[in-house]
């Protein structure tokens, strides 16, 4: 299971980056956020419910994402999250920071690109 990696990532702030990136292209339900991250990482990174929602709440508190209840005709209302302008700025900034970090890590630790 991917949990240890995610939790380690969460500690470094990378889980935040994952969520922000998943929401880059539009609004998603919690379940779809987790599925999108799993899909993009080729199943390597998965969120458990118990890890995902605390993070969503945290990001919402920081006003990087905004959750709201959406009702579509004929379906039950569901809660969706989308990036706020503030969140979009943070995504750009974090991406930059992480790219630099990964590049540095690659050089320093002699990592090969996958």
């Amino acid at each position: 299971m991917g949990d240890p990696i995610i939790e380690a990532a969460a500690r470094k702030g990378s889980a935040e980056l994952l969520i922000l990136s998943a929401l880059e292209d539009g609004q998603l339900h919690g379940y779809d956020i987790a599925r999108e991250i799993s899909r993009r990482s080729g199943g390597l990174l998965t969120f458990h419910v118990a890890s995902l929602y605390p993070l969503l709440y945290k990001l919402e508190d920081r006003q990087w994402i905004q959750g709201r209840w959406v009702e579509k005709a004929g379906t039950r209302r569901r809660r969706s999250y989308k990036l706020t302008p503030e969140g979009r700025k943070m995504l750009v900034a974090q991406r930059g920071r992480w790219s630099a970090f990964v590049a540095a890590l690659t050089k320093a630790a002699g990592l090969k690109h996958a």
């Binding site: 419910v49 118990a50 709440y57 508190d61």
Partner: protein, 890 residues
Amino acid sequence: MHDWGARLRERLAADGIVPSAHAEAIDEIADHLNDLHRAAIARGNTVDEADAVVEAELARMGPLAMAVADRAKKRLRGQPQAVDWRTGLAADLRHAFRMLRVDRGFSATVILTLAIGIGACTTVFSFINALLLGSLPYPEPDRLALLWESIDDNPARRMIVALPVYEDWRRETRSFSSMGIWEYRTFNVASNQEPEQVRGIRATSSLFTVLGVPPARGRVFTQEEDDRREHVAVISDAVWQTHFGGDESALGRQLRLNGESYQVVGVMPPGFQFPQQGTGVWVPFHLVDQDRERNSHSFQVAARLAPGVTFESARADVSQVGRALQQRYPENKAEGSTVTLMAEHNLGLVRTMLTALMGAVGLVLIIACVNVANLQLGRALSRRREFAVRLSLGAGFGRLARLLFAESLVLALAGGAGGLIVTWMALRAADLVVTPGFRTLPFRGEVALSIDGVVLLFCAVVAILAAALFGFAPLVGLTGREPNQLLRDGERGSTGAANRARRVLVAAEVALAIVVLCGAGLLIKSLSGLLGVSPGLDPREVLTLQVSLPQPDVYGPPIRENFCAELSRHAEGLPGIRTIGAISHLPLSGANASRGLTIEGRVAGPDDQAGAAYRLTCPGYFAAIGIRILDGRDFTHRDVTRGEQVTIVSRTMAERYWPGVSPVGKRLKLGSLDNDQPWRTVVGVADDVRHFGLDSEAQREFYVPYSQSAWPVMTIVAKTVGEPMLWQSAVTGIVRRVDPDLPVARVQSMDGVILASVDWRETPMKLLTGFAIIGLLLASVGVYGVLAYYVSQRTREIGVRAALGATRRELAALVVRQSLLPIVAGLAIGVAASFATGRLLQELLYQVQPGDPQVIATIVTLLIGVGLLASWLPARRAASIDPVIALREE
């Protein structure tokens, strides 16, 4: 398919999340779980496999619960706190009720335990309320005082009063608005009914002024009627009912008192019991010459403080007058004057007893609270998640404490209500346990024990205090710990703090139990020691009964010269009666009289006037009651009124006034050398009797034949064959034949008289023993509970040890050893404390010291036995644990 929303609510509720408060968050997550389940099915899993995927998510919900709670908290923070503390408290109490209804077994145990503890306290308090806090039934009772002659000015060494001194006080003190004097009398009251013996007094009319209680009907007698020696009487409501059928026309009618006709002028109200329970007749003082003797101490004096005079200044006033009398009269040389509050009279011992009992029940209550605290600790452990969530919800420690206190308060108040039921039952049963003497107070009569407003208030206060005492136990181990840490601990294992708290509780219970048990032990040993003391007589198969033999001149020769001879004659030949006699003051009955004496040939200094207790007897008395005649002879019917005047002295008196020689043939006379009393020849020496109680020393006593000097009340003493009470009618029949008009009263066996004399020791001993047993039971249950819990917590460790080859015996020994540590600590503390508390009982002890080794050894052995049993039961269970099962428990 599962309804995952419901399953999620259930799961979060277990973590203390109230689902309804977080409906949106839960809906959202439930959607997520439903999606997960659908996706798993879509991937080709079976329903069971899909369920397992979702359950796996649910299993790790802990942090989520925290986050959900946390979020709600943050949102709440933004809002104003509209709830004021009253609604908050009401909500807390409602919540507490709900919690306690759910956990019925716990609640019932706690309420029962508290009901016993609080009930015991409230019971003893209702005694205190009635006996110590109640006031005398007279207007402004705190202004009422009693005046005494005393050795020096010491109120502790007071004596009843001689009339001339009373008259001096009336003239010379300035502190009193009124003062009255009285003497106890016994009256044979005769109307158309059977003659009845009734207690009464002769008193000055001013005594009624002192008391300030008007009669219910008619009037009290006047000073003028007293001066004119008119035969008028005031009677009690009871006598009015018995002899006049409660008829209003009783006023002005005649009543025969001691054979003389008295006109009834007034009836006192039903509650008027002055000076003692059952007083039925009040007659004018009718001064006689002998009353004028300055050393004839026969009377009691009551007075009312003048307005504005304090008790202290009155005491100074009385002392000063006393000192003046010392200077003026040789008879008063060694005597001072003092004053006491009527309300405080003879309450010292009652106060000591009730204080001791209150202390004991207080300890029992604390034991009960310790038990409850311990139950709370155990319950707190299973509620730790709930506490953690509440804390993380932003409850704050204080808020949580308040919630728990609300729960404890509900428990304690329920316990208090139960306690009232216990009290009610205890007061009903009080008649069985508490001897009547314990409840009868001077100047007030028998005091009713009841649950009144004060008792209710006390009960409520005790309940709230108890709640404070045990209510915060669940907080132990919560302070200074992060909520998530608490959550992670879950129900597994207890914290170090809670374990320490438990050990302290065990030690405390043992210590408290020891203190109460030692108190009871000391009293039991005192009483059994006391009952083993020889009173100097042989009480077996002895029947006693009182008759009053009225006559106008209470000091002179009897009108019934042949009373004793008649008594013997009519008893002679009767089956069942071996010997019969009579005495004026039955040993151990509380009756007494004493006289100043002149011993022929003895040179007495002015401070050393001879004197001794004065008894009148009929021949046969010594034989009947089993007092040995050590020298000379008993009286006989040949010691007649106009024959040689004789006396028998006690051993102590003989040794004091005729040391080293036989007093037989020596002479003495009553009063001073120059009076007209006849010389009396000593004809015998009787063995000493502990007249004033088994715990008293023998006093100087001298006996005079009734035929030569009258006494108004005699107690007939008959040695019977077998059970004395069976011969009651035989002895009553003898009295009838002597004089059909003599009423008989106070029929008792001599054994009964002796038991009654230790009444005041027996009652507190019984009560204290009862409370000690309750305390011991509560403590045993509590210690067992703690140790059993302790063992259950260590099942795994014990399993490991067993798996590693420890034998059952070793395992049991291990548990017992570890359990015994707090028990031994409690023993040590309890024994040390019992030395201190034993001192409170000092006044009630007889030839036993606080810290008596025998008592302590017995109690300690008992407690060790209880402790061993309480730890052995769980130890045995521990030892029989299968290691495999024990290890699997985790």
